[in-house]
Structures are given as structure tokens and as C-alpha cells.
């Protein structure tokens, strides 16, 4: 049956790189992609997007709703950042916070922030931006009755009050140091009158924001067309948009996207696999842009009682696994340009993330075998390993484990299924990746896997306490100290093998001038034609 050949796609973001796969279908796909790239290098010139000042981008998933609070896909975040503005702005290079719709802000106490708003900003429909926009939008989306799907972005908000026409007060439910991060990335501000009138469905049908691009046409499931906002406010830290028109088309198949790029039908595609990106380098009309991401990769070890591998309860076994994997070689040969070795279990750019004081486990198979022998496993043992993306990386890890006697059996699953298994205490080793949902604060990464929640397979009370302290402390120095101690303990007790940061490859028209940022946010306003 043809249906059987649908490749599994993780809900979050699909696999970036894939090489050795035993499936015939997968091989054929790879072969076809190679043919596409290799056979067509010589074909004619691309239609230049520069000529009609239109940037054509393809993405594999269509958002279910364009309203930023009612979709959970990356392209939704990309559209949101280009069409809407947030109160604050984080400079992607320096990670410094600046005011966007807010001119300035004051932390009144642990739970209260006051914002002085910018005057003279207009939404795309002409509606004026003021305190009402902020108050209505945030109180609406934070109310569970309104069923926002991005609960993680808004559930920390207690209430927002109007203090004046251009002044608001935001109260969080608990001290929430990550507030600024959310307010600068995902918490978009809607025009109050319009949003009140049409609601999320109307916002989806005819999106209105205040950002550098306006939605001029939207065909749900097919495409969305953006035009430069000629009245974009001059003081915005985003700067003025340069490219006149952007068309985003939703093309689910990666090979098709590649074919579109080669044929000149699309000017920009993202999440291109490393092997395909390498081949694309030979196409004269295209360029490959490599960038870092915020996505960390690690091998989680289940040390809980009743788990499928009691061997992992012995810290010597866990350290043996740490020493068994040659991360440098894997990063160089498989992960590729833009990949970076991790020593601490958080994204290095995140506020509060540090590798200081965290032990580094060098590749040392002899030491690994010695540790295994000391733990009573001179001949190694068999253990299941669960994974959901970057299968070639999992396979490399399996080979290294095999070399010291640990025979890992691969169980390759869909993300949701793997997550359920891990939460049900049914996994031993789990090849995890975590993108922190773009949030550049350590509270969005380490606590998810070590803070005592459902995804925590270590449940170390000392670490849980430290992370909780970090999550609820506003004083930066005290906060950093708590996280640093927790990260060091995670390393010392070897609960997970920190592996690497995933790179991302973009294929773009040669005429396009673009920067790849680690947050994988495509900033159209920042792009121009060469």
C-alpha cells in the first residue's frame, strides 16, 4: 500500500540529516535526491527573485492557524516575528534586550514588571497601538477559557493592567525570570479592537499585526503572501524591511522543495539535510548557508526504579557510557559544519547556561571498559536505545557503545510515542534533542529534563531543588549560581551524555543576502538582495 511509505515526521521539527537507513524506500529517496542534485547542476539558470523583488520560501508544514497563540509550528513563529511585534526585542547577536513596542521597562518586584509603551505605532489596519492592545491581547490569551495552544508562552501571566494610555503593569503568577525572554520572542501584541471583534479565527482569516511585514494574501494550507510594511515605525530595533514581497508556500516533501530550489521556483528552503546541502553547493544559482541552532542533543539515561535497565543505576556504568562516545569524530564527520560539542546540558547561548565547573568526559574506550568491569560487566550488556530523529547519529553512538561491549538495540519512534515511553519509565537510553522552543533562557531547557517533571528520568532531589531555586529567583547572580551548581551535579552524577548542538542548513538563491541565526528564526526584515 502506498500509505505505508509515508515517512514519519516528528511533531516538533523533522529530521535534519539522514544517511544510512536499511529501508529500501529511504534509500530510494536518498538516491532520488542525489539524482536531483547531481543530474541537474548543469541545467539552466534560475528565475531570479531579485528581478521582481519577491522572496519565495518553501516550508514543509502549514500552520493550523496564523494567530501566533493558536499554532505550535516553527513556521508559525517565523510568520509571527515578521508580521507582529512584541513588547521587547532580543538582539540575536548580542542577546541583549531592547524595547520594541515598549520603550522601557522596570522590574517593580519579583512578580511585577511595568512597561512604558511607544507612542505613534500603528497596526496594519490603521488601528493605533496603546495600553489597550497589550492589556486585551495578554489577558485574552492567558485565560485558559480561550484555549490558546501555546500555553507554555502565556500560562505564567497572571494579569495585565492599564496604568495609563501608554503604561501597563504585568503581574506573573510566580517570580518568573524567563518573562523577558517570552515577551521578546513569542508573546505577540494584537490590535485590541480588531481582535475583540474577530477573535482568533478572524485573526487567522485576515491577520493584522504591527510588524515589518503585512499579510496580503493567505490560502490556508497552501501559501501566505507578505508585503513590506511601508509605515513600519522607524525606532523599531528590527530595522526597516528591504525586500518588497515574500511568498511562503507549504510544500510537505523535502525532495520537492529541493527540486523547486534547483528549478528556481523557490528562493529559500530550510532544514536541508547535510548530505543534500553538500551536493547543492555545486548548483551555480544557489548558496548553502550553515548556521548553529539552539537544539541540544543528548543521551538521557533512565536511573529510576523499575526502569528497563537496572545497570544504569550504577554511576560507573553511566560514566563508562560517557567515556565511550567519540563526540569530536561524530561532530566532524556526521553532524557537520555548525555543529558544536556540548559539555553542559543546556544551550550555550541561554541566560544561565554554563559549562563552568561541569566535568568533561574525554573519549577513552579503555577507561570505559575498565569502569564497566569494575561495575561487574566485564563483557558488557544489552540495552535498548530509543530515538526519533537524526538516526545516523544514533547509529554512530550505537557503534561506539558496541566497541566497549554495550550492545544497544535501536527503537526508532515518532516523537510523541518516544516521549510517552520515556514518561512511562519504559526507556533505558534515549537519544533526545531539545530546541527550548526558541527561549533563550536556561529555564526552558535543563529543568525540563532534570526539574522533577514528567521528562525527568533522574529525579535527583538535590538537582530538582537547585533548578527550582534558579527558576524562581530574580536576582541574576543568585540565579546563575543555582543553575551552575545543578549543571555541575548533573555532570558529576552522569545522568545524561551531553552530545552536541545541531547545525542547520539553508539553501538560498545566490542573490539573497541572509544570516542564519541560532534561534532558527527566519528574519525577512533582515534580508536583502545582493
Amino acid at each position: 500500500m502506498a500509505e505505508c511509505r509515508v515517512k514519519p515526521v516528528a511533531v516538533a521539527s523533522p529530521p535534519a540529516a539522514r544517511r544510512p537507513r536499511p529501508l529500501l524506500a529511504a534509500r530510494l529517496r536518498t538516491a532520488a535526491a542525489a539524482l536531483l542534485a547531481a543530474g541537474l547542476v548543469a541545467s539552466g539558470p534560475a528565475l531570479a527573485g531579485k528581478k521582481d523583488d519577491t522572496l519565495r520560501m518553501a516550508y514543509d508544514q502549514a500552520p493550523e492557524n496564523v494567530d501566533p497563540y493558536y499554532n505550535n509550528v516553527r513556521i508559525g513563529v517565523i510568520i509571527a516575528a515578521n508580521v507582529w511585534d512584541t513588547l521587547l526585542y532580543r538582539d540575536p547577536m548580542t542577546n541583549e534586550y531592547k524595547g520594541q513596542l515598549a520603550k522601557s521597562w522596570t522590574q517593580v518586584d519579583d512578580k511585577t514588571i511595568d512597561f512604558e509603551l511607544r507612542e505613534g505605532v500603528k497596526f496594519h489596519n490603521g488601528e493605533e497601538f496603546d495600553a489597550d492592545s497589550v492589556v486585551y491581547t495578554l489577558n485574552f490569551v492567558a485565560d485558559p477559557k480561550n484555549k490558546a495552544v501555546t500555553q507554555q508562552n502565556v500560562s505564567w501571566i497572571d494579569k495585565v493592567e492599564k496604568l495609563g494610555k501608554y503604561k501597563v503593569r504585568l503581574t506573573t503568577k510566580e517570580p518568573f525570570p524567563g518573562a523577558k525572554e517570552y515577551l521578546s520572542t513569542t508573546v505577540a501584541i494584537h490590535p485590541a479592537k480588531y481582535y475583540q471583534e474577530v477573535g482568533p479565527q478572524g485573526m487567522n482569516a485576515k491577520p493584522v499585526g504591527s510588524g515589518p511585514y503585512m499579510v496580503t494574501d493567505y490560502q490556508p494550507g497552501k501559501s501566505i503572501t507578505l508585503a513590506r510594511n511601508p509605515n513600519y515605525f522607524k525606532e523599531s530595533p528590527k530595522g526597516q524591511p528591504k525586500i518588497g514581497k515574500v511568498i511562503i508556500r507549504f510544500i510537505p516533501d523535502r525532495q520537492t522543495q529541493l527540486a523547486e530550489a534547483i528549478s528556481g521556483g523557490e528562493d529559500l528552503i530550510m532544514n536541508v539535510a547535510k548530505d543534500q546541502a553538500d551536493q547543492i553547493k555545486a548548483v551555480p544559482t544557489l548558496q548553502v548557508v550553515a548556521g548553529k541552532t539552539m537544539r541540544i542533543v543528548f543521551l538521557q539515561m533512565n536511573v529510576q526504579d523499575g526502569g528497563p535497565a537496572s545497570q544504569l543505576k550504577d554511576v560507573r556504568v553511566r560514566k563508562a557510557i560517557m567515556h565511550a562516545i567519540d563526540r569530536e569524530t561524530i561532530v566532524k564527520n556526521i553532524v557537520g559544519e555548525g555543529g558544536e560539542i556540548l559539555n553542559s546540558l543546556c544551550t550555550p547561548s541561554q541566560v544561565g547556561c554554563t559549562a563552568e565547573g561541569v566535568p568533561v568526559y574525554k573519549y577513552d574506550p579503555a577507561l570505559s571498559k575498565k569502569l564497566l568491569a569494575e561495575a561487574g560487566f566485564p563483557d558488557g550488556f544489552e540495552i535498548p536505545i530509543a530515538a526519533y530523529r537524526e538516526r545516523n547519529q544514533t547509529e554512530a553512538i550505537i557503534n561506539y557503545l558496541q566497541a566497549v561491549g554495550i550492545r544497544a538495540k535501536l527503537n526508532f519512534l515518532q516523537y510523541a510515542a518516544m516521549r510517552d515511553m520515556a514518561r512511562g519509565n519504559k526507556t533505558a537510553l534515549t537519544h533526545q534533542t531539545w530546541g527550548s522552543n526558541l527561549v533563550n533562557d536556561v529555564s526552558a531547557s535543563t529543568p525540563v529534563y532534570f526539574g522533577g517533571g514528567a521528562d525527568d528520568l533522574a529525579h535527583d532531589p538535590e538537582i530538582i531543588k537547585l533548578l527550582d531555586e534558579g527558576d524562581h529567583t530574580i536576582d541574576p547572580a543568585k540565579r546563575t549560581a543555582a543553575y551552575q551548581k545543578a549543571l555541575a551535579l548533573i555532570g558529576e552524577r552522569a545522568y545524561a551524555v551531553p552530545l552536541w548542538l545541531l547545525p542547520a542548513y539553508y539553501v538560498a538563491n545566490k542573490d539573497l543576502s541572509m544570516t542564519a541565526y541560532p534561534d532558527e528564526l527566519v528574519r525577512f526584515w533582515d534580508m536583502s538582495w545582493k
Binding site: M1, A2, E3, R5, V6, V9, V11, A12, S13, A25, L28, R29, A31, A32, L35, L36, G39, L40, S43, G44, E64, N65, Y70, N72, V73, P144, K147, V149, Q151, Q152, S155, Q201, P220, G221, K222, R249, F250, I251, P252, D253, Q255, T256, A259, E260, I262, S263, G265, Q414, Y415, A416, A417, R419, D420, G435, S436, N437, V439, G453, A454, D455
Partner: protein, 305 residues
Amino acid sequence: MLAFTLKRLGLAALVALTVSVLAFLLLHLSGDPAVALAGEGARQADIDMVRKMYGLDRPLAVQYADWLWHMLQGDFGTSVYFKTPAGPLIFSKLQTTLLLGLAALGVALAISIPLGVLAALYKDSLADRLCLAVAVLGQALPNFFFALLLIMLFSLTLRWLPVSGSGTWQHFVMPALALGYYVAPAFMRLIRAGMIEVLGADYIRTARAKGLPATTVVFKHALRNAIVPVVALAAVQLGYLLGGSVVIETIFALDGLGYLAYQSITFKDFPVMQLIVLLLSVLYVLLTLASDIANAWLDPRIRVS
């Protein structure tokens, strides 16, 4: 005849019901819908909130009964992913898929009838072997791979057709070819076998003996009889084409029912997926029924018995 039809329809309803129960169970047992809905970044509390919001915390049987009850009242439910009524959502996509399915069926018949006749006329010759090769290739070549080959040829090398999308008729050429070629072999072999049998029949010998032109004998006398089983197959294959266009729609970015089904499985959008399953099983059953009627019309013997 009426009793027979009613019995068939009752059976069909049971089949559709069973399929929907299975689909419901499979979708719920393959992972937590609330996790899929809340997205990767969600915390446990957020997932619990989503689960409660969408009534996913109720027992499976209750959820299913609730769906069925609303269904019987003509309320097709609301997509938990797109947040719009599932009925209009599905029907808005049906047109693309129907168009693709019919075009693919046309392609399949356009390939298989001439080749099937040719293979039968020149049985065991080189032409027959070549037709066999075409059939084997069509059956063996995964359709997504064939689709990519088509893209390479028509879009990248010749630059005649757009790679993907659904705006113009040109957008449907490659998808229809890819999908049609995949189902053509079954027709081809059926026509070949039917033609060989018919061509050996007495009345064909008589027709030839009367001195009728070869084309009249082959196309008017022989093909008309050999094509009867093809009609039955065509109806069933159309059902398959409608349900089986998932991969092709995905490759060519055609915004049809197949792609919607793929999305609804990925995002555990059960109201949509269940409605699609129901719709397709009903269509399948109806097409099979239609093929019986068409057969009866084409072959008087069936009518009489």
C-alpha cells in the same frame, strides 16, 4: 433485488463503523493526542490543560460514543488542530483529490487499454514482453520515486511543468502520471487476459471470416467484451486512488484530502481523521456498488441472473 441492496448497504454501514472504531483506537494508542496538540515545548501542566480543554481526559469509550452520537446527528465535529468544523474542511479538499483521482484513472486507462490490446494481439512476441516490462516497472517502482524522476525530467531538465502546487492544470500532469502509472499494470494485465480469451472465441472467428476490418473486430467486437471486468476494477481502483494519493499529494504539494489525512495523523486530529476514514470507506463501498450496476448494464447476462 431491493432486499439484496439493503443487505449490502447494512453491511457497508457495519464495515464503516468497524473501520472507524479501529482508526480511533489506533490513533489513540499510538501516542497521547494532548502531547501532540500542545507541541514540543509544552510543560506537563500545559499538556494537562490542553487535555482537559479538549475533553481528552475522558475514557476512550466515552470519547468514541460522544463522537458517534454527534455524527449521527449530522454534527461532524471540529478539527482539534485547525479549530474549524471538520465537515467543510474535508469537503473543501475533496475537489482536488477527486480531480487527481479521475485524472489518474484516465492516465491509467490511456496507458493500459492500448498496451493491453497490443500485448494480447501479439501474444508472446517482443511487443508483449515490452508491455509486460512496462507493467512490471509500474508495479515495482514506488510511486514517490517515479514522481521524483518525472520532476527531474519535466521540471528540471525540460522545464515544461511546474514542480509543485495546484494552481493550474499543468500542476496536475505529473501527479496524475505518477499515480496513474502505479495502477495501470493491473488494468493492463486484465485487458490482456480478457482480450486473449475473447479473441479465441467463436464469434470473433466468425467476424473475421465475414471479412470485417481488423480494427472493427478488435475494438468493436473483442474489446467491448474484454472491458467488462475493467469497469469493475476501475471503480475499485478509483477508491484506491482517492485514499492512496497521500504520498503523491505530499510530494507535489497538492492541498487535497490525502495531505489532510497525513496531517491529521501526524497531529492526532482525530475528528478529521475519523471523518476522512468514514468518507473513504463509504466511497469505496459505493463505488463497488456502482461497479456492480455498471457491470449489469454492460453484460446482459448479469442482469438476467
